[in-house]
């Protein structure tokens, strides 16, 4: 049986981006906070120092920073007619682990979603009519507007020191920025990163194509920055080891570089690492959480009572903990009823490879989020009439890496090994380039999460089961985006262009992106959402759930900035409303 610990005010489950932000906010509110993290403590100089952080084999191939599937994994199937099987090695997404979470090894793309993304069903119905939305597409409005989130986007960006150029300041379009973005209250904290050669050429071609190129907003900083908590960040060195890696140069915004050193100085904060929360406990009424139960590395069970529980784990583990704890009604795709596991979505990525002559792109001069981008084909920035799909994505020339294992690109028809392969690698390494489109992924009745009936973890608990496939809408959109991207790339004068639109079925074994979304979404109706507009559980009012778990569907952007904005939005609601009068912030 679990041993019971002295009660605390707040327990935070998972010490990644949202856990760090919420713990800091709750400490600032004067509350005693215990954060429980199942992975190890991680610190820049100790765990990813510049002396060895650039180790592709260790981090990219051998997944050093990521969760071990032996500790927890998921089972996967494309549809309900299949038997789900456990993932024994990670593939299309990389569940984070340890203090800092995904914030340690993200690329730093720091996007805001479009204003129309937050009222997607209403917006599309208004513009194209209800019939434009496929019958099994379960997209919905978020219950929060862009305008409400704007100050919180701003806070997260100023925490990170994000480098970029505003395209819309208080409604006025700014030259050089993204003209499609929602209004910003002020400029980015730091100017855009300097663009390498290939992105510069892409921007020129995009301009010729009538599009609106701009520098990708990046939390790999262009210059030294001191954030709102007094934390210092340095300029990015373009080392090209960003995604999959921790940054040893203090130049990528992460919980380690922006929050944690300030948080650990607070006497009302405590972190317990290598401790895995296995359940959120409820009182007899089932309407209040009483705390959590966790297991340490000795296998001992501990109960940590708390007045407020904030669930800050990675998307799928948030969903699993809610299902395990019996909080919220599990979703049933057959009846389309229930909320936990509902509206699970992903990201529809695609690419265009181009092979040039007499070009040297120096691909190793790279940074996670540097690049020139167009947003002309994202969300509803373009007329979808007659296209047969809704949604879109950004596209462009990012310059994330030219790493020696991953960064080798050869033209179709090249043998996979031997002298000809080596020659092709040598010839094409400097002069080939991979362009990317980053498409939305809307939610569907068939894409859901529940507990697996067969496979269990080391504690005997059921694993989470993932049922997911790309739908026609996303595949058509991906084809369309990839074609538009290839048209622009063609203007750059390559000798060969190879299109890689996303095709079905969804393949979980090849890396695409770690942007898993939904499963316990926010909204205005407790029948179709697990959380209210403040990310508070409809069912258990002293439980808040952070992260992309709350996205009703995913937009054509990387999620981190929206995750950060929602964290500050929820933190503000807790501090200004909930603590004064604990209970549901939205009447049920």
């Amino acid at each position: 049986m679990a041993r019971i610990l002295p009660a605390t005010d707040v327990v935070v489950i998972g010490l990644g981006w949202t856990g760090s932000i919420l713990a800091h906010e709750m400490c600032e509110a004067g509350l005693r906070v215990v954060a429980i993290e199942r992975g190890p403590w991680r610190d820049t100089a100790t765990d990813f120092p510049t002396t060895y952080a650039q180790d592709e084999l260790r981090y990219h191939i051998r997944h050093d920073l990521f969760l071990r599937p032996a500790q927890e994994t998921v089972t996967m199937r494309n549809n309900t007619s299949q038997n789900a099987l456990p993932m024994r090695t990670w593939g299309s997404f990389m569940p984070p682990n340890g203090v800092g979470g995904g914030g340690v090894h993200w690329n730093g793309q720091t996007w805001r979603f479009l204003p129309s993304d937050f009222r997607l069903r209403s917006h599309l119905t208004e513009r194209y009519g209800a019939k434009a939305i496929p019958e099994d597409m379960t997209i919905q409005d978020w219950g929060v507007t862009y305008e409400e989130l704007e100050p919180h986007y701003d806070r997260f960006e100023y925490l990170c020191g994000t480098s970029g150029k505003a395209g819309n300041l208080a409604g006025k379009t700014q030259p050089g920025g993204n003209p499609f973005e929602g209004a910003r209250s002020r400029e980015y904290p730091t100017p855009p990163q300097q663009q390498p050669y290939a992105p510069t050429l892409f921007a020129k071609a995009a301009l010729e194509a009538g599009c609106h190129p701009f520098p990708q907003p990046s939390s790999n900083l262009s210059q030294p920055y001191t954030n709102t908590l007094g934390m210092k960040l340095g300029p990015c060195t373009y080392c090209g080891f960003c995604e999959w890696f921790g940054c040893g140069n203090y130049s990528k915004a992460s919980p380690q570089t922006t929050v944690l050193p300030s948080l650990v100085r607070k006497l009302n904060f405590e972190a317990r690492t290598q401790c895995e929360v296995i359940r959120i406990n409820k009182d007899a009424s089932g309407k209040q959480a009483t705390g959590v139960t966790y297991v340490d590395t000795a296998g001992e069970e501990w109960e940590q009572p708390a007045d407020l529980v904030i669930l800050c784990a990675f998307q799928m583990f948030n969903v699993r903990l809610l299902l395990e704890s019996g909080i919220g009604k599990p979703y049933d795709p057959a009846t389309n009823e229930g909320v936990i596991g509902r509206n699970f979505s992903y990201q529809t990525t695609s690419g265009v490879d181009a092979f040039f002559e007499n070009k040297n792109f120096n691909p190793f001069v790279a940074s996670g989020a540097v690049g020139m981008i167009i947003d002309d084909y994202n969300g509803d920035n373009f007329d979808h009439s007659g296209l047969g799909f809704v949604g879109g994505g950004y596209m462009g020339a990012g310059m994330t890496n030219g790493r020696p294992i991953e960064g080798l690109r050869t033209p179709p028809g090249t043998p996979a090994w031997g002298a000809d392969w080596k020659r092709a690698v040598t010839d094409n390494y400097p002069s080939s380039y991979g362009f990317a489109a980053h498409g939305s992924c809307y939610s569907y009745r068939g894409n859901a999460m529940d507990l697996d009936p067969t496979y269990i973890d080391r504690f005997g608990r059921k694993l989470l089961r993932m049922t997911f496939d790309f739908h026609d809408n996303e595949l058509k959109m991906s084809q369309y985006l990839t074609d538009r991207l290839a048209e622009i790339v063609q203007k750059m004068g390559p000798k060969q262009v190879v299109k890689h639109p996303r095709t079905g079925p969804y393949n979980s074994s090849v890396y695409q992106t770690t942007h898993l979304c939904g499963g316990a979404v926010m909204g205005t109706d407790p029948k179709t959402s697990a959380l209210n507009r403040y990310l508070q559980s409809w069912d258990v009012s002293n439980l808040f759930v952070m992260g992309a778990t709350a996205f009703p569907q995913n937009a054509g952007y990387n999620p981190t900035n929206t995750v950060g904005a929602l964290a500050y939005w929820a933190a503000q609601a807790i501090r200004t409303q909930y603590l004064k009068n604990p209970g549901p912030l939205v009447p049920v």
Binding site: T50, T51, G230, K232, G234, P261, S262
Partner: protein, 409 residues
């Protein structure tokens, strides 16, 4: 005697002793001033063992002659200084003489504290009487024979100790004199930053020009433009002491603890006074240094470009508040390279303070770079961008590598 009876007697003793303790200064302003002064003196640093209660002593201090454990200075009646009279406390601070008339070892920096006014010493005494009493028996003298003979110190004092309070200089402004009082007295900066003679006394003609202690070289903090803090502004010195960082440098190693426990908690006016005084210290005749071999510079330049420049930048400018500037940096140009070698081999963690919480750190390179590479890189850094300092040899690196390995055992 039963445990309960012993406890009752101990309780009674405490009760009986209280009125005497109460007779000492209880005025808030005296106690508060004592707290401020004890912070300047950084008493807590030596009088607290790792993991121990503050001021309860037991820290093992390595001296060239052996180990001395710091005594318990909490008001505990039996193991602390609860039974000391004010006069005994003042005598210890001013003369280095213990309660029973024994000579105290100069690991206790009474050669500095003798300069502190009696009124300030009594204020510290008043504050120390208010902190929680901790029962912790410490055997201070753990020195080997013959150094264990305290009478040896009569001779030592004759050579190294001059009793007497601080005398302000009429020619200098009040702020300078305040700085001098703090630096030469309670601050005991010279305990680390002044070179020692063979018997551990200060070389008074080398005051504040840097000293070696515990495997570190505490740099020159005098007014030398190249190797001291003469090239820094008062504001840079104050920021360094207050936050552990300024735009060009960061405190790490033993100085990190000094910042944490002492200087970050000091009044800005006192830090300003210290800055004024330090910058006014006359520089010594600079030692001419020979330009290193071109081959060494080339090797060092390569190591620097691949291993160091990502953070410290190719022109050695560093990054404000994060990575120290190397160009024109005083500690980089220290005559003695011990601390630099140590930082490269072992890494260095800068201090984190409330206003500068990042506490950026440099990783260790001992596993990655050979003695020759470390020596060449440091020589390169000490001779680039207008810097000038003696070359670092691979045997110097080898010696420190060996010493660090021993330290780690």
């Amino acid at each position: 005697m039963s445990a309960r009876l012993a406890a009752a007697i101990a309780g009674l003793a405490l009760f009986a002793a209280s009125p005497k303790a109460m007779a000492q200064g209880q005025e808030f302003d005296v106690i508060e001033r004592g707290h401020v002064l004890a912070t300047v003196g950084d008493c807590v640093a030596c009088h607290t063992a790792p993991g121990g209660k503050p001021f309860s002593g037991g820290l093992k201090i390595e001296t060239p002659f052996g180990i001395i454990a710091s005594p318990n200075i909490t008001p505990d009646m039996d193991t602390g200084i609860g039974r000391w009279t004010d006069a005994e406390f003042v005598r210890a601070m001013h003369e280095g003489i213990g309660r029973n008339g024994e000579h105290l070892y100069p690991a206790f920096p009474y050669p500095y504290y003798t300069k502190v006014t009696t009124s300030d010493v009594l204020a510290i005494r008043a504050w120390l009487a208010t902190i929680p009493a901790v029962r912790n028996e410490v055997v201070s003298n753990q020195l080997p024979f013959p150094f264990s003979i305290r009478a040896d110190l009569i001779g030592w004092n004759g050579l190294n100790f001059k009793e007497g309070r601080f005398v302000p200089s009429a020619a200098k402004p009040a702020v300078w004199n305040r700085g001098a009082y703090l630096v030469e007295g309670l601050g005991h900066c010279g305990a680390c930053h002044t070179e020692k003679n063979v018997i551990g006394g200060d070389k008074s003609d080398r005051a504040l020009l840097g000293g070696t202690l515990g495997g570190w070289f505490a740099p020159n903090i005098g007014g030398d433009m190249r190797r001291g803090v003469g090239g820094w502004s008062n504001e840079q010195i104050v920021a360094y002491l207050k936050t552990g960082h300024n735009d060009v440098a960061a405190a790490s190693g033993p100085m990190a603890d000094v910042v944490t426990q002492s200087t970050s908690r000091m009044a800005p006016a006192d830090l300003q006074a210290i800055a004024v005084y330090l910058r006014d210290q006359p520089p010594p005749q600079d030692e001419p240094t020979a330009k290193p071999d071109d081959v060494v510079m080339k090797t060092g330049g390569r190591v620097y470009a691949t291993q160091c420049a990502a953070c410290h930048t190719q022109p050695g400018s560093g990054v404000n508040g994060l990575f120290p500037t190397l160009a024109h940096a005083p500690n980089i140009q220290s005559i003695n390279p011990t601390t630099l070698i140590r930082a490269v081999l072992q890494g260095a963690k800068s201090v984190a303070t409330d206003p500068a919480p990042t506490g950026a750190a440099m990783p260790a390179f001992d596993w990655k770079l050979s003695d020759e590479q470390v020596a060449a890189a440091l020589t390169y850094v000490r001779w680039s961008w207008g810097n000038s300092a003696p070359s670092v040899t691979s045997s110097q690196v080898a010696d420190i590598r060996k010493a660090l390995r021993k330290e780690g055992d």
